[in-house]
Amino acid sequence: MEEAKNVTAKPSHEDIGTTPGAVPQEAVASKSTAAGDASAAPVARDTRNTGPGRLLIAVYAVFAISATARAGYQILTKFSEAPLAYVLSAFAAVVYVVATVSLAKSGRTWFKVSVAAVLVELVGVLVVGALSVFDSVNFPHETVWSLFGRGYAFIPLLLPVLGLIWLYRRRPAPKRT
């Protein structure tokens, strides 16, 4: 698909960009090429912040901001009404922040952090979504993940799936010694 074209065209853009992670990213990339990964684009291989990844990070960032603001508001003004729901809100906010930051960073460690954050997000939206449907007595209050994210056009449900697909496509080359 055209994404592949985009990926190979990436290094020139990457040079212009003032990515703070540029140095470790090159180090990791040269390590993976030394390991004999010929199919990989040399520099941009171990990053997930280019091409479609940028859109993904942007949407994650919007959710990180809105979830943080919402959870902060709920906890500061009406925490006693539904402590569990609002703690979940805050937890969701943390997950979105971690996912945003880790997706924007390059390197193997940040990749693992991204996978963990996106998986937690997927489990969270499924579990909280199911609980809010089947146990609406204990989950009457809104969180980002309530009703599978219906209040947010189901984007919270879509986002981790797209995130996992993107992470899989841009997984680091296997480490060989």
């Binding site: 280019t50 091409g51 990844g53 940028r54 942007a58």
Partner: protein, 117 residues
């Protein structure tokens, strides 16, 4: 919903359509898409100035005032952040990032209207 909302709705939707089209046509962010996002920023600034004038004139905000201003200031930051993010990497995907600004501004303006009235 007041006039400020409808201005942001029209400008935001037009901007989103322009940026989506450019992204689908595999274009990198250009003057047209960036200026359409700038128009969203401008309409949000109109909302900001209008709201300051209304508050100064003594009109009360029905909801939490700090929630309203929080939404407005965050909304004002979004176009700037998206354009910055789009300029760093000029690929078609950045146009999709820019496209997200218009709808997000629309949703946030709807929420701001709810808080105000």
């Amino acid at each position: 919903m007041d006039a400020y909302f409808y201005i942001i709705m029209v400008v935001g939707l037009v901007s989103t359509v322009i940026c989506l089209t450019a992204g689908i046509l595999k274009k990198a962010p250009n003057d047209t898409t960036i200026l359409s996002v700038a128009a969203v920023e401008l309409s949000l600034l109109v909302y900001l100035v209008g709201s300051i004038v209304r508050v100064a004139a003594g009109e009360p905000i029905a909801g939490e005032p700090w929630e309203f201003w929080g939404y407005l200031l965050t909304a004002l930051l979004l176009p700037v952040a998206a354009v910055y993010w789009a300029i760093l990497e000029r690929t078609r995907w950045s146009n999709f990032v820019l496209a997200a600004v218009g709808v997000t501004a629309l949703v946030m303006a709807a929420r701001m209207n709810q808080i105000w009235y």
